[in-house]
């Protein structure tokens, strides 16, 4: 009896492992930045290049950093969702314009709408490296103390907004700085 059951058990174990493997998304790498302070940056603003925006100046509010570029196809898919989120007016949305030409970026925003309170320009991708960006779009949620609380890799969908983005924002908004 055992002789017949052993292969069956082995098969079940293998099937379970392969099944789990199928459901995992190898593109989603856990970010070591969650729970860590947001990397410092001081970058020119896309529409006001003479002015700069730093991470520390955003302390005291919950904000969302969305890494985008005009050359990024998935960003185009994500864009209407961000526009909707901006309309809700629940969070400060900062765009990190990653390795892009400012002219192309501005044209892209004027064509598709601008959900960002401000976009900062990271033409060389240095700040991108600090945020561990490896694929655009990526979205980070930062709390009032300047700690990264959530990361979303890839385009945000409507479901993501309802299931993770908004709940995290509301949770963080509730917390008052001690």
């Amino acid at each position: 009896m055992l002789k017949f059951l052993t292969p069956l058990f082995l098969f079940i174990i293998l099937a379970v492992f392969l099944g789990i493997g199928l459901k995992l998304n190898p593109k989603e790498i856990p970010s070591p930045l969650i729970g860590k302070p947001v990397p410092e940056f001081n970058l020119p603003i896309l529409h006001m290049p003479e002015k700069k925006l730093s991470a520390s100046s955003l302390k005291g509010r919950v904000w969302l950093l969305n890494v985008w570029a005009s050359w990024c196809v998935s960003c185009r898919a994500e864009h209407p969702i961000l526009n909707q989120l901006a309309k809700k007016n629940v969070v400060t949305i900062i765009g990190l314009n990653y390795k892009d030409e400012p002219e192309n970026a501005k044209r892209w925003l004027s064509m598709l709408g601008n959900p960002y309170n401000a976009s900062i320009v990271d033409q060389e991708g240095r700040t991108g490296i600090d945020f561990g960006v490896y694929g655009v779009p990526e979205t980070f949620i930062i709390d009032k103390q300047g700690i990264i609380r959530h990361k979303h890799t890839g385009p945000i969908t409507e479901d993501d907004i309802e299931e993770s983005i908004l709940p995290v924002i509301f949770e963080l908004e509730k917390k008052v700085i001690q």
Partner: protein
């Protein structure tokens, strides 16, 4: 006779064109090769630094094309990370400092050789466990087979053998 010569000439041409085709094919293969990774020219003051640079870029994973090191990959990010490693080496940063820098941003995944910790235990111990269980199975299999081996010949069979041998002698 003439026709024979003609045939020979044709086969020479045939060889030539075939050779040309092979050369052309190989050249195209080279051009199409996906592995012509971006190689930038980096100047180092010390040969040690260059050596360190080469080992480092061969140990860091490109996160865009996950089965390549940043040395192999010609993704944009790999290029940036190579540049980052180069600049940090020039600044006199040690190997550990550079690895820690990458770890802080991209996590353990950036290392081709994952660190030994609780989470990666199975990864490291897995091969040993599999090898050991393989040996265990083999051991039991061999032991079982020995038990099942036919027992020694009985009296009757012995007689038959000696009978046959006797017959052979005659």
């Amino acid at each position: 006779m003439k026709s024979f010569e003609f045939i020979e000439k044709e086969s020479v041409i045939d060889h030539c064109t075939r050779f040309l085709f092979i050369v052309l094919f190989l050249t195209l293969m080279l051009l199409l090769s996906p592995c012509n990774a971006g190689v930038e020219y980096h100047e180092f003051k010390q040969p040690e630094q260059e050596k360190q640079y080469k080992t480092l870029i061969n140990e860091l994973r490109c996160l865009v094309c996950q089965n390549q090191t940043i040395a192999d990959s010609n993704a944009d990010l790999a290029k940036d990370l190579r540049q980052q490693v180069y600049e940090m080496l020039l600044q006199g940063k040690t190997r550990k400092e550079i690895v820690d820098y990458m770890l802080a941003r991209y996590g353990d995944f950036v290392l081709y050789r994952p660190p030994l910790k609780g989470k990666t235990m199975l990864l490291w111990a897995g091969p040993v466990i599999f090898l050991f269980s393989g040996f265990l199975m083999l051991f039991f299999y061999i032991r079982k087979r020995k038990v099942n081996e036919p027992s020694e010949l009985n009296q009757q069979q012995h007689e038959k053998i000696s009978q046959l041998l006797e017959q052979d002698k005659e």
